[in-house]
């Protein structure tokens, strides 16, 4: 199993047991001749359940001594039986039962309640740039609600000619746009400011997701209300839930047309955990500004110093001052596989893949190092490469079995290069909590296990 350059191409493993043994096949055949077809179904179902573990273990893909893989030689039930009918999952499809490990998860010990808490998206298991809505990270400040959309109202007041009220029906009548954008919590990667604290990319970087959002540019609604776009330099966005979250947003970002009042997410309505039926989409800006259950926008001439911009979501500098109104998520990237908590099953070829994003625009390039940042190669960017959206990158790698430290480094179209921890700590110390966009390091050990590390 060695190729000419000495690299093993496949590890030999014990072949799995035959799908049905000789006796089993004889019994099944006999029973089927007797017309007891249900027996066959049961026998195969039982055998399939028993064989699930060894099938999944057969990673080396060897040729068994029998001269063929039983998964090929013995036709499984799904190849020889009748499958399930349409709309059999209650009318809304769910992932395969074999995908039950792929879940959003809480980080143990991070919060004392589940209503003011976070669940992290499983980045290590996702492909492309879209986060499935059911795996979108969650951040609730006072619990989530499932709000009747027929009773939801959206109000605009403040520095406007006519304060207005809109129903969901009316908002959905207006010209809509659909755009892909990432949403990242300002505190994503927060626990890693000082040192390594969590094991996997789900917990280090999982407070980011990317969806296609559908909605109406907020500027359209402000124009309907006759907003004073010249003197009204700020808006306050307010949620309709218990926390009634409020955040200040500059009018200049709204007049650009980028800020959306969104009801759609990945082709369907927003999920309740993500603000159903209406949320603000503020591309490039941290998630806390994407106010969920959006009930009101007020136009004003000064910033509002809301709780989440005057107590939290401020960056503490070494001189004791807090940077306030720090909203943009700067250029950042992370390798999602191989990543912490995973095991490389063998030496040989791997596709290093990951995600890059910038709150200032498009990703221009991503470089990848496998020696802890000494040497770099430029990765392939997969299309689409969109402004203020996740961008998927891939690069080929042949692992020789020796320790390797994998990093990625993104550059955006303003020319800004993602910083190292050294850069970031020199500028902001280690107590900032928010806006940690440092280069992430994953150590691939000789035993194949990948560890979250920081390098000096």
């Amino acid at each position: 199993m060695h190729t000419s350059d000495g690299i093993q191409s496949g590890r030999i493993q014990k072949a799995p047991e035959n799908f049905l043994d000789r006796e089993g096949i004889r019994t099944v055949t006999a029973e089927s001749k007797n017309g007891r077809r249900h027996f066959i179904r049961q026998a195969f179902a039982a055998a399939a359940a028993g064989a699930a573990a060894p099938m999944a273990l057969a990673q080396g893909n060897p040729v068994p001594t029998e001269g063929g893989d039983p998964n090929i030689l013995n036709l499984p039930e799904h190849s020889t039986g009748l499958g399930q009918g349409v709309a059999s999952n209650g009318g809304y499809g769910v992932p395969s039962q074999f995908e039950s490990n792929v879940q959003r998860r809480q980080s143990p010990g991070l919060t004392q309640t589940t209503q003011a808490s976070v669940s992290f998206a499983p980045l290590q298991s996702l492909f492309g740039i879209v986060t499935p809505s059911g795996l979108h990270f969650e951040r609730h400040h006072q619990g989530w609600w499932d709000i009747d959309p027929s009773k939801h109202r959206f109000m605009i007041n403040g520095m406007v000619k006519t304060p207005k009220v809109f129903t969901m029906d009316e908002i959905m009548r207006l010209p809509s746009v659909s755009r892909f954008h990432f949403i990242e919590c300002g505190a994503n990667t927060a626990v890693e400011w000082g040192n390594v604290a969590v094991p996997t990319v789900q917990y280090t970087h999982g407070m980011i997701s990317c969806s296609e959002f559908t909605g109406v540019p907020l500027i359209t609604l402000l124009e309907i209300a006759g907003a004073d776009l010249k003197n009204g330099k700020f808006i306050l966005a307010e949620g309709g839930d218990g926390s009634s979250m409020t955040r200040t947003i500059p009018m200049s970002l709204i007049t650009s047309g980028e800020v959306l009042v969104a009801y759609g997410q990945n082709g369907e309505m927003l999920r309740p955990e993500n603000g159903y039926p209406l949320r603000l989409v503020v591309p490039g800006v941290q998630g806390v500004s994407w106010v969920k259950y959006l009930r009101r926008v007020e136009v004003g001439d000064m910033p509002y110093a809301a709780k989440d911009e005057a107590v939290h979501y401020m960056d503490l500098m070494p001189d004791g001052q807090h940077r306030q109104y720090t909203n943009i998520q700067e250029c950042k990237s992370v390798v999602t596989t191989p990543s912490g908590g995973q095991v490389l099953l063998d030496k040989g070829f791997y596709n290093i893949t990951g995600l890059a994003w910038s709150g200032r625009g498009k990703i221009q390039k991503v470089d990848v190092s496998v020696d802890g940042g000494r040497n770099w190669r430029t990765a392939r960017l997969e299309t689409p490469v969109l402004s203020k959206a996740l961008t998927r990158f891939n690069i080929d790698w042949v692992w020789d079995g020796k320790p390797a430290i994998i990093q990625s480094r993104a550059t955006d179209d303003t020319g800004f290069v993602q910083p190292t921890y050294k850069h970031l700590r020199a500028a902001r110390g280690t107590r900032s909590i928010y806006h940690n966009n440092a280069i992430q390091s994953w150590l691939v050990q000789e035993n194949g296990e990948v560890k979250n590390v920081q390098v000096s």
Binding site: P108, P199, T337, L344, V417, Q418, H423, L443, N452
Partner: protein
């Protein structure tokens, strides 16, 4: 020829632009979409209070009255003195008389100071009033009347000696209180993370990495990684990765196999697909619905005792539990009172049944 064409095109272009802009202007009226908000509707929803106190309703409240409200409605989570770290970060502590003079909280400069309280951070008293009014108490937001919000705010500020114990906070004197906020001068907008030009800002980002490609640094050394004892602290990572793929999850339920791969590393264990989840007890949903979980957890003390501990102590005593949930009380498990619960009788019965039967998760 080409010159002539250009000249001829310009008026046509201007005409086209004019038509386009008119068409745009017409389309922005959107007849039939939205209606004027009534004064009553605006009053019901426009509750925000700005740092210049625009939006602050008239009213007043004393520190003394604030303490009564605090002990009944706030102390469960925040502690009697706003010091509790049980549910949320402490509100009070870490500020001094000197800070009140300078408007800079000195402890924020210390890297060895444990944590940051709300009063160490907040620069604007309007923020406290606005947030208490819109979102507190935790399980009954927007239930306080304006005078009660003044009183609670006054009590909170008195705990940090921003106002004296006999103070009555009102819309008339709140601007003077602002001038005593310990961290009122502690904010900076000298950065590039605001997506506009409204603040002072900074000329360029505060980090400036370069995309070096070759021999960029000496050999990298691992400076930080998780200790072995934390291996399974986030649960078995094998169960947090897909069953198939170029990598599998590491079995962190077992000690790490430190040998190299060629010497026979343990392959990732495969967990058979989990069966469909068993039906959950309806009580579990009610615990969330009625915010029991804000103060109680299944297996550890939060503010109140764990459900497991209650179930153990009162096994089979459904009637007692039902009555206790309805009446609330203190002294059985500790001094922090549990307020009387107003959930429907049927729901309380379901929860009491569940607790009396062992509180199975």
């Amino acid at each position: 020829m080409s010159k002539f064409r250009k000249v001829a095109l310009i008026p046509a272009l201007i005409a086209a632009l004019f038509v386009a802009s008119v068409a745009h202007a017409q389309s922005t009226t959107y007849p039939g979409v939205g209606r004027p908000a009534t004064a009553k509707e605006i009053a019901a929803w426009d509750i925000d209070v700005r740092p210049d106190f625009k939006g602050l309703p008239a009213g007043s409240g004393s520190v003394e009255k604030g303490q009564d409200i605090w002990e009944a409605k706030c102390a469960q989570c925040h502690g009697v003195f706003g010091e509790s770290n049980e549910v949320f970060s402490p509100l009070v502590g870490g500020t001094t008389q000197a800070d009140i003079q300078t408007g800079h909280v000195a402890n924020l400069r210390r890297s060895d100071f444990p944590g940051r309280t709300t009063l160490m951070k907040v620069a604007t008293v309007s923020t406290l009033w606005d947030y208490i009014n819109r979102a507190m108490p935790w399980t009954a937001p927007k239930s306080l009347k304006p005078d009660e919000v003044y009183a609670v705010t006054a009590y909170l500020l008195s705990l940090a000696d921003v106002v004296p114990d006999n103070f009555v906070l009102s819309d008339k004197n709140i601007a003077e209180v602002q001038q005593r906020m310990p961290n009122r001068n502690g904010m900076s907008t000298q950065h590039t993370l605001w997506p506009g030009k409204e603040f002072k800002g900074a000329a360029k980002p505060d980090t400036a990495n370069v995309a070096c490609m070759k021999d960029c640094i000496p050999e990298a050394k691992v400076a930080s990684m998780l200790p072995d004892y934390a291996r399974n602290a986030h649960g078995n990572l094998a169960d947090q990765n897909r069953l198939v793929g170029q990598q599998h999850g590491a079995d962190t339920a077992s000690p790490e196999n430190k040998s190299t791969l060629t010497a026979g590393a343990a392959p990732a264990p495969v967990t058979a697909a989990k069966p469909a989840p068993k039906p959950v007890d309806p009580a579990l949903a009610l615990l969330g619905k009625h915010n029991c979980t804000a103060c109680h957890a299944q297996d550890r003390k939060v503010v109140g005792p764990s459900f497991n501990d209650i179930a153990k102590k009162y096994a089979g005593k459904t009637d007692y539990l039902r009555a206790k949930i309805k009446s609330g009380g203190s002294g059985v498990w500790g001094p922090i009172p549990m307020p009387p619960q107003t959930a429907p009788d049927g729901d309380i019965q379901t929860i009491a049944n569940w607790l009396a039967a062992g509180a199975a998760k």
